[in-house]
Amino acid sequence: MPEHTFVVNGEKITVDVADDVRLLWVLRDVLGIKGPKYGCGINVCKACTSHINGKAFNPCAVPVSQVSESDEITTIEGLADTVPGDLHPMQEAWLEKDVAQCGYCQPGQIMAAVALVNKVHAEGREITDTDLDTIRNVCRCGTYARIRKAVKAGAARM
């Protein structure tokens, strides 16, 4: 079987898996990194949202062969290590607003929120309601209103 090497949460790893296996399954089923969740497998629900080189993406829609040796994948488990302190400010905001209900969507929500805020800040702006409307992540528990508050609170500290 082909070998694939890349960086996950700061650690270089090599896996033996067929080229076309989507990265979500490499993370979950092969490497045992269970933070990214499955909610659709077709890049719709965004429950699997993680980062590639600091930007949000959905590993359910990326064959492992498209990830190269220098690519840095960050999952929810590795988010806190990308900043000083115990938690990322977005995680802190999530705690402060007590956003989660079942929690299944929340790793993806947080990873999406961090990337969205980074993007908006890179454009030299503050986050607006219109930006929040672009978040595609499904939360079937319906925590959307608190997500909006938490993203704003997290953004203020990023």
Partner: protein, 777 residues
């Protein structure tokens, strides 16, 4: 009359600090463990007054609380050497926050910090019979007193041990934060005392327990964050598919192209078995199970399978034919005897199929061996699932261990053990452990639904009075076979008169349906027909639709009488509690403010789960809003502002209650405006979250507020479902007022052209995309 049934006032609480004798058990062990009967405070019900409606005196919650009374069942609180308390609750955590609220109740009575209380989920315990059922927003209502008593007995034992240790007397000792202190300042921690207070044999104790009066509460009623929040935000919280059970490889099912179709034969088994990663392929009754190293390879296997299928349960049928069937089953409206001059309002509403699927699809880990089986799944009624699994794999029930794990949502979906039963069958077929998960496409297409229903209402009025209000609700059958049905039969003797002859659905309907207005002669009847669909009691069953229809008619009555919708409601509401939440919401939401054409406010109330809720929304139905474009999305009218006010009686955790109201609102938004499943040619078209349009961030009102009313009630109300019906109704009313048209069919966009490309039915799951890197941001 008052809205509170007599029995709902707990004697201990009513009399404040009065002591009561309770039987408890000290359980043999090296550290302190106290058990109490889970039913210890279920009092006999007072006689039920007949007029005017049953739920006012005895509702679904009473039924659930009553259901377990005949059985003796122990739950145990332990204090371990770390000084922390441990409790296994025989209920399911599905996101509704019961692990947090139960930890708070224990912390309160034990004088421990909430973070030192650990609440986990009990596995299936067959001896609990109906007392291991999570539903009807009943968990806190039914478990609060036993949990408090067990904690109080445990604290009593700690105090006694401390008195000996510290050479003092119990009455002089003070407990705080897990430490007991004597007047001289000497102290012992609960951890130190847990061993001293332990019993070497299991003994019955008759404890003279003083439960805290609500005025002494420090934890109960204080906004508290979820106990699992840190695990969630760091990705550590474990769901069924995150459990590492040795050898349990990913498994998915290839399903029939039509609803409930069954497999006949696999044409290319060897070919699929030889695919990369695939380890096993086998036929089970619901489809072809494919086991592989990764779920992605299961998906590839499913897509490669060639299968001959038997017919489904509704081949060739569509929404229209199912609806025509319902129409035939409608119980006619009676022609009321009313004065000649009275005016009649006749209305007729239709509610389409809606999926109850959670974000975590149906899933379970199963390890079935020849002599035993073990299952891990999110289950609200695990005992029933345990029985069904035992039957399916041919083992005695005692040989099937069912571990209840935390669920990624339920909404009625996890009342049934669909995924767990399937996983057990697949594991047996393979002779290997499996981690079985449904594909998303399977959920709206083959999963459980809120049934399609019609609701006809006829109201008559004269001279400013409503004389009659009749409602005939007709629904595709709701499946109550997850245990509610059997439970009802078992509880039948204690049901109020008038319910004895009804079927299960009709009983639940009667116990949960209440029109809280003085509208003269009120009759609300249910008829169900058509058992060919997979249905469930989706969050707030019946009420969500029934109350939408009711409140739209209330608005119509107001219009016919020339009255303001708020004034009319205030005038006719029966009870003060509901009137108060309504007044509050009107004030906070600024009812009656002038709004531009094409936008409007809507207001509604609901009374259920021993509480009252009111909702006021503002909706924007102007073309520029309705037609706003978002990729692969339904936009439509936007609710721009929502205010909810809830009186849920004694509130354990206001933060959790508000969260549940918020979730209920999101559901109401979806069910009223955007989300439904379309049946066409024997199958449902929806196969993705971009087809089945549950509420998304772009549908959410930017202004959203929930207010919890202070309450002097000692009775906790239900939280999980209380926000749904009221939100549906308020949004529907606002839509009608903004557009000037009375909506007839829900969700209101159901008849729009299908807003997505329908995914193929063979194979039944879509290919995994490869272009994810094109969408990086």
């Amino acid at each position: 009359m008052t809205s509170e049934p007599l029995h709902s006032v707990q004697p201990s609480a009513r009399r404040g600090t009065t002591r009561r004798g309770f039987i408890g058990y000290l359980i043999a062990g090296t550290t302190l463990a106290v058990a109490v009967d889970l039913n210890l405070d279920a009092p006999a019900h007072a006689a039920v007054p007949s007029p005017p409606q049953i739920p006012e005196a005895y509702d679904l919650n009473d039924l659930l609380t009553d259901a377990a009374r005949p059985t003796a069942q122990l739950v145990t609180v332990e204090i371990r050497e770390d000084g922390h308390a441990y409790f296994e609750i025989p209920r399911a955590e599905v996101g509704q926050g019961i692990t947090t609220s139960t930890a708070m109740i224990l912390a309160e009575e034990l004088d421990l910090p909430v973070r030192h209380v650990h609440v986990s989920l009990a596995p299936a315990r067959p001896e609990l019979i109906w007392n291991q059922l999570t539903g009807g927003s009943n968990t806190t209502v039914s478990t609060m007193t036993p949990v408090r008593v067990a904690a109080a007995i445990a604290k009593g034992a700690l105090l006694q041990a401390a008195a000996i240790e510290l050479g003092s007397v119990v009455t002089l000792l003070r407990s705080k934060n897990g430490v007991i202190e004597a007047p001289d300042g000497s102290s012992r921690t609960y951890g130190e005392l847990s061993v001293k207070a332990a019993s070497s044999t299991t003994v019955e104790v008759e404890a003279d327990v003083k439960l805290k009066a609500s005025s002494e509460f420090k934890v109960i009623g204080t906004p508290t964050k979820r106990v699992d929040a840190m695990d969630i935000v760091t990705g550590r919280k474990k769901f069924a598919m995150d459990y590492d059970v040795p050898g349990a490889l990913p498994t998915m099912i290839c399903r029939a192209p039509t609803l409930n179709g069954t497999p006949k034969a696999i044409r290319n088994k060897a070919e699929v078995e030889a695919m990369p990663g695939v380890t096993d392929v086998a036929m089970i009754d619901t489809g072809i199970a494919v086991r592989a190293r990764t779920f992605g390879q299961c998906i590839d296997g499913i897509r490669a399978l060639e299968v001959d299928w038997n017919a489904g349960s509704v081949d060739g049928e569509d929404d229209a034919s199912v609806l025509a069937n319902l129409r035939k089953a409608e119980i006619p409206l009676a022609v009321p005897k009313i004065p000649l001059l009275a005016k009649t309002i006749d209305m007729d509403f239709e509610f389409m199929f809606r999926s109850s699927a959670a974000l975590e699809p149906n899933c379970a880990v199963a390890d079935v061996r020849s002599d035993r089986a073990e299952i891990w799944a999110g289950l609200k009624i695990p005992i029933v699932t345990q029985g069904r699994i035992a039957e399916a794999v041919g083992l005695p029930q005692t040989k099937v261990k069912v571990n209840v794990v935390e669920s990624g949502g339920s909404f009625g979906h996890k009342l049934f053990g669909d995924g767990a039963i399937e996983a057990a069958k697949a594991s047996k077929a393979f002779g290997k452990p499996v981690r079985l998960m449904w594909h998303r496409a399977d959920e709206p297409r083959q999963g459980r639904l809120r049934p399609m229903a019609t609701s006809r209402i006829r109201a008559t009025h004269l001279a400013g009075q409503v004389l009659t209000f009749e409602q005939r609700h007709t629904s595709v059958s709701t499946d109550w076979r997850h245990g509610f049905g059997e439970m009802l039969t078992a509880t039948a003797v204690s049901l109020p008169p008038g319910l004895g002859n009804l079927g299960v659905s009709e009983t639940i309907f009667t116990l949960s349906t209440e029109l809280p207005y003085d509208f003269g002669v009120v009759t609300q009847l249910l008829n169900e027909t058509d058992q060919r669909f997979n249905t469930s009691a989706m969050r707030n069953p019946y009420s969500a639709d029934v109350r939408t229809a009711n409140e739209l008619v209330v608005d119509a009555i107001a219009k016919a009488m020339g009255k303001d919708p708020l004034d009319l409601r205030l005038e006719f509401l029966k009870d003060d509690r509901t009137r108060k939440v309504l007044k509050k919401v009107a004030e906070l939401g600024n009812w009656g403010r002038s709004m531009p054409a094409g936008t409007a406010q809507g207001i509604a109330i609901h009374k259920e789960y021993k509480g009252a809720t009111a909702c006021l929304v503002e909706i924007d139905c102007r073309p520029e809003t309705v037609n706003r474009k978002i990729r692969d999305a339904v936009t439509g009218p936007r609710v721009t502002k929502a205010t909810l006010v809830v009186d849920a009686g004694l509130v354990v955790n206001p933060t959790g209650l508000k969260a549940q109201m918020m979730g209920g609102f999101s559901d109401g938004l979806a069910m009223t405006l955007t989300s439904s499943c379309h049946l066409e040619d024997g199958h449902f078209l929806e196969a993705s979250w971009d087809n089945y349009f549950y509420t998304r961030e772009w549908n959410i009102p930017p202004e959203f507020e929930v207010v919890v009313m202070p309450s002097d009630s000692e009775q906790p109300g239900g939280a999980g479902e209380a926000g749904v019906a009221v939100s549906c109704a308020a949004i529907a009313c606002a839509y009608a007022r903004a557009t000037g048209k009375m909506p007839k069919r829900f969700p209101i966009n159901h008849d729009d052209p299908i807003g997505f490309d329908v995914k193929e039915f063979v194979p039944p799951v879509p290919a995994s995309p490869t272009n994810g890197l094109d969408y990086v941001y």
